[in-house]
């Protein structure tokens, strides 16, 4: 009986983006990614339906790997984000949010996909060339003469994941360690053999649960796990013996002495003949003899070593370590210069031996580990990062974040620049493109073969999508603002009244007849949100009795210049000036300081404002301490992936699914 059920025919979906179910799922995915974004992002608990391990994370890599969707379009997007992450480690959520946002805006604008795709492509080029400009306003050079920018870069990555649950001191400690580890893996001088190529070393991460975060540390060389019983008295003696270098032999083949390598099939042994197991053991002991005569002092194996061989080697003062695992082999090869031997039947070739400067036993947290010191300084350095955290969930997140930080730091070697973080790059770039696109709309529209109004519509969608990313950093009823001079991103905490208005500081609202001391509200004031009430007639006071205390606006504070809003402010003028208390002291990245730049004006993000002048570039002669920096390389690629993915998804006409 071959097949009982008839093969079902494939299911074809016409214009999938127009299906409400697809849209719903895309919105859901977008919400998930958006709510994870940034240091105040929300965590997700992921587990399977039979009660498996609970994953608590807001990291795109872990999240997207764990969560699967039944929707092909979502699978496509997820796969491309994961692909981006495998190359750059960073900006996964960014890619997703931007991509979904672009699709959403195109759908809302009513532009034909083909038109939108053309415009998006052109704008992507503008963005890329803008970011690559020498004088780009959202770029800073990474100065290798000091650790400051590297640490900031690392800390931005590390502090972006709340599931690490680190205090500020702990964040600083881990960021410093990440930079330390990174610097240790950069070789000094040329790599022997290939003078024009630099080979970076490796960082091996060891994670220990239940210890203090501040016990995390970085060690040059490698820490190898050796189970308790393996640390025989002879071994510990060896670790204390004088300075090296010691000769090291490394095996990848199993030295357990079993017959597994003969493969399947049965074996017939003549009763008079010696036992095959004994023969193999003899072979192994011969190997041991050679190691001892060659003065090998450290004998390591990826897999199991026969206890008799171990015993023999230890008797001759050799330090024996077995079951290293595959992950450690490459770092050991890199550090010691040894060649991993995959055969035990022949003598060890002399060039296969490596060297270590010394070994000692180190107590990390609750574990005792063998520390192998690198043989000489200029070799491609290998280091070990020991990460400790209070519980497994936070430790896993910390581990992921540290690996990401390491990758981000490495990317600076290729492009020694970084982008302003905290959403400032996005708002600044959006302002730049908006300005450039508007002024050159006619030309661009002509060259693309679209109408000017179509172009402006597309442009607006693109800029809004960029700003949507910055806005995604804002949670908990905070409000995202953008200043009109430098187009940096500012976020205002919840509970502070935020309004747009042209009223200078200290002056009451221009709805002239409102008696002072009386509350002015539009009836629909949402809690902590920016208020644009277009319907409030001038001079009319509306009292909303339901606004909870402290959440909305009372005219008691109006006199202090805090709560001012009006319905009749013409669009484009809806800005706030002065230094009202609610706007924080610095912008998202920390480059623009309110105190240093009086007369700044703000407007809520993603409000339409008419064309404005190109954003100013902040002079970086005496830059204040930057708080947040993002990886340039990763973000540039993320931008490209997001736009291209969005274009691809917009271009999809049919989805054909094989349902068998």
């Amino acid at each position: 009986m071959s097949r009982v059920t008839k093969k079902a025919s494939s299911v074809c979906t016409d214009s999938p983006l127009s299906m409400s179910e697809v849209c719903q799922k895309m919105t859901l995915m977008r919400q998930i990614l958006t709510s994870c974004f940034g240091p105040n992002g929300r965590l997700k608990q992921v587990h399977n339906n039979v009660g498996g391990h609970v994953l608590t994370t807001s990291t795109s890599t872990s999240l997207l790997q764990a969560v699967s969707s039944s929707e092909p379009l979502l699978k496509l997007i997820t796969a491309s984000i994961l692909n981006h992450l495998s190359r750059f480690s960073d900006c996964g959520l960014y890619t997703g949010i931007l991509c979904f946002s672009l699709i959403d805006h195109v759908q809302k604008s009513g532009l034909r996909p083909s038109v939108a795709i053309k415009i998006n492509k052109q704008l992507l080029e503008v963005c890329t060339s803008f970011l690559n400009q020498e004088d780009c306003g959202c770029k800073v050079n990474v100065d290798f003469n000091s650790c400051q920018s590297l640490v900031t870069l690392a800390r931005s990555v590390i502090s972006s994941k709340p599931a690490c649950v680190l205090t500020e001191g702990e964040q600083q400690h881990i960021s410093t360690l990440a930079v330390h580890a990174f610097l240790l893996t950069v070789p000094c001088g040329d790599t022997p053999g290939s003078p024009d190529r630099v080979r970076l070393g490796k960082t091996v991460t060891v994670s220990i649960e239940g210890q203090f975060v501040l016990d995390s540390a970085v060690f040059p060389g490698l820490l190898v796990n050796v189970p308790d019983m393996q640390l025989h008295p002879t071994d510990s003696e060896r670790t204390r013996r004088g300075p090296g270098p010691f000769r090291l032999a490394l095996f990848t083949v199993s030295l357990s002495g079993d017959l597994s390598e003969f493969g399947e099939g049965s074996l017939e042994v003549h009763s008079g003949a010696p036992d095959p197991e004994d023969l193999i053991l003899d072979e192994l002991l011969k190997l041991g003899e050679q190691a001892v005569t060659d003065q090998v002092e450290v004998f390591m194996c990826q897999r199991v070593i026969h206890p008799v061989l171990q015993h023999y080697l230890r008797r001759h003062g050799v330090l024996v370590v077995e079951r290293l695992g595959i992950a450690l082999i490459e770092p050991i090869v890199q550090m010691t210069g040894a060649q991993a031997v995959a055969l035990y039947q022949t003598p060890i070739p002399p060039e296969a031996y490596g060297q270590v400067k010394g070994c000692c036993v180190r107590t990390v947290g609750s574990r005792e580990m063998l520390h192998l010191l690198p043989p000489r300084e200029p070799a491609p350095a290998v280091c070990t990062m020991v990460l400790c955290h209070r519980n497994d969930t936070m430790l896993n997140e910390l581990k992921a974040v540290c690996q990401r930080a390491e990758h981000v730091l490495r990317l600076t070697l290729r492009d020694p620049v970084a982008l302003l973080g905290g959403g400032c790059t996005e708002t600044h770039m959006a302002a730049y493109i908006s300005n450039k696109g508007t002024t050159e709309a006619a030309k661009a529209a002509l060259s693309l073969g679209v109408s000017q109004s179509q172009y402006l519509l597309g442009l607006n969608g693109f800029c809004s999508s960029l700003e949507a990313v910055a806005l995604a950093l804002v949670h908990d009823g905070e409000t995202g603002l953008v200043d009109l001079s430098y187009a940096h991103h500012w976020s205002v905490p919840q509970g502070e009244a935020i309004h747009s208005g042209t009223v200078p500081q200290g002056e009451a609202i221009h709805s002239g007849t409102v008696p002072q001391g009386e509350a002015i509200h539009s009836g629909t004031v949402a809690q902590g949100e920016a208020i644009h009430s277009g319907t409030v007639a001038q001079g009319e006071a509306i009292h909303s009795g339901t606004v909870p205390q402290g959440e909305a606006i009372h005219s008691g504070t109006v006199a202090q210049g805090e709560a001012i809003h009006s319905g009749t402010v013409p669009q484009g003028e809806a800005v706030q000036r002065g230094d009202g208390d609610e706007v924080p002291a610095t912008c998202g990245c920390g480059l623009v300081e309110r105190s240093a730049r009086p007369g700044l004006e703000w407007t809520p993000l993603n409000t339409r404002y008419p064309s404005r002048s190109a954003p100013l570039v902040v002079g970086k002669d005496t830059p204040p301490q930057l708080r947040v920096l993002d990886s340039f390389t990763a973000k540039l690629n993320a931008l490209q992936v997001a736009v291209e993915m969005a274009n691809l998804v917009l271009d999809i006409r049919y989805v054909i699914q094989d349902v068998n």
Binding site: K25, L28, I32, R42, L43, K44, Q45, V46, H47, N48, N49, G51, T56, V67, S68, S69, S70, S146, C147, P162, A163, V165, T167, V179, H180, L184, G210, F212, D215, A217, F219, P220, D228, M229, H232, P233, S256, G257, D258, S260, F262, L267, E268, V269, H270, S271, G272, H306, P307, V361, R362, T363, V364, G365, S366, N391, D476, P493, G495, P548
Partner: protein
Amino acid sequence: MGSTIISQRLHVGLQQLTALAAVTHSFLGPNKNHKFIQDESTGESSLVCTCFRVLEHLDLTCSVGQLANETIQAHQKVFHSGAGCLLFMAGVWSRAALECLHRDISIPHIVSAMSEGLDICCKVCRSNSVSIEDVRPNASDSGTSVLQGSPHTVLRNPVTGMNPSHGALNNKKQSRIKLTHSRHFCANDEADKNTTPGLFSHAVSSKGVDIAHLAEAVSHGCVDAMSLVVEVSKMQSKNNGSGDSCRTFDVNKLVTCTLPGLSEDHSCVLPGCVILLSAEQASLVHHMKEQKWQVVLINGDLSEKYRHLGFNSKNDISQVTDKLDLKGLSKEDDWEDNVLTTLLKNNVNLVLVNGEASERLTQHCMSHRILVVERMKPDILKDFAETTGAVPVTYATQLSKHCVGTGVEISIWRDCSGNRRRASMAVNIVADRTALVTVVLTTSVHSKLQTLEDCFWGCAYRLHHTLKDRKLLPGAGKTELLCVQILQKHIKDNGEQTRGKDGTSAPQAKQGRAGNPHRADVFQLMADGWMDYISTLMLNSGTCSKVDAWTTINQQLIDLNGGLSLDANFSRLLLRDDTEDGMMSPDMKRSAGKVYDNMTVKLEAWRKALDLVFLVLQTDTEIITGIDPKQVEGQSNVMVL
């Protein structure tokens, strides 16, 4: 297969955490109420009285439960104490967080204020900790305290006598690496600090303090268990030549052996290890009394079939022969002869096996007056390897002269037969110079064994941490009261600051702090969590109802009014025994007011509790993977991806 999303806007997680924590409320304080956990499906039940055992036995299906369990087990693994405090605080603080949410305080504000609150309190607790030298025995002899020599931790290393500052306990770094412009940072001298030259010693000797008094201070009502711990310390001190007094305590050289059937006052402390042997084997021990014997140690099983871990046995090897085997000797016989010859040649009298031993060989050995003991704990084998000089081997055929250890004494400790189906004898095996000490825990109620063991280890680790920290926190709720007081002080100051602020004059730093408008609210709710802790403690002590407790605590707070010293009467109140059955022993009454808690354990438990609350608080979505979308259709709170 798709994924399902449950949005948790209602913060069910925090409620679940509170509910879970409530289960363990009755474990707080010295008078613990036991709990029965019954499994409906199997009919099994178990008696528990510690927080981590409860979680172990619960079927935690909710994700929050799993997260809590993970945290508790991790804490238990490292500290072996304080898990109850952790879960309790996680419960009350998640209620506090929930209340904050109800008051519309945003999550970042809650997180920052709560962690600030904990930081403040931890700092104050650290500075108000009591040095163990200052933990005086009792008023009568406190004048002639045993303060001799400089009071600092000395790490003893019997093997090498290495510099004490390089000891194993020194793994907490003294100074953090400072980032400099050098690419190698100056890590070298730092690097050497963490090396452990002596591998096996973890002993903490304490000059200038009497362990017995410290033990009493951290006994927390487990007087019997703690007196066993003191016995251990006495024995360990004697073993390394400190005489009769309690000078040293090494928790790593301690094993427990549980014997059901005997009444609880048979619990005792013995040097070396205690094992149960059959009557036959024990009869051999009768002949082995009062002599030093030679020992070998086997890692793994003692049988012909056994192969080391990682060895893939090939089953299809067949022997081909062209003549009849007339002797009829099997491979196993050969092996047995071989092993026996080796043992006899090397004058071995005792074989300690980690795994199982072949029964035939054991019998054979017995007839040659060689005792084979199987299923030895790895820790014990390790100690024998260190003290007798024996080299552990995997195969008995590997044995040679240098693998044999010397100086082992065997004696019969007690006849435990009669209460079991099989006759059994408890035998004591001691190696020369060993620091290993066995505590035999006995009870006539079988289901109490686990509880007794947990209680004993709790005491042992409390003493261990005391000696390790060399600092203690005032116990019996005094530290918590201090925290409440500090937070209230900050709330008051905060209020004054806000009132006094003209909007312009506030300095930058203060403005940053005051930038959190809900700080006072969060602090108050956090403090209430600690109040809840103290009141539960008082309730469990049987002194008063919860309401009375709150009143008393508030009165105390008013009385204190600024000063940070605490009235000893307060803690006496906690321990006042007016329960009818008189649960408190006279010892406990005497020690009232002299109760202390471990500092690192407590502060770390608080930190972990807050971690747990933060993780749950910041989670907004639960995603269940691998679900067929059709299953969940129609469920209102569920969305399908």
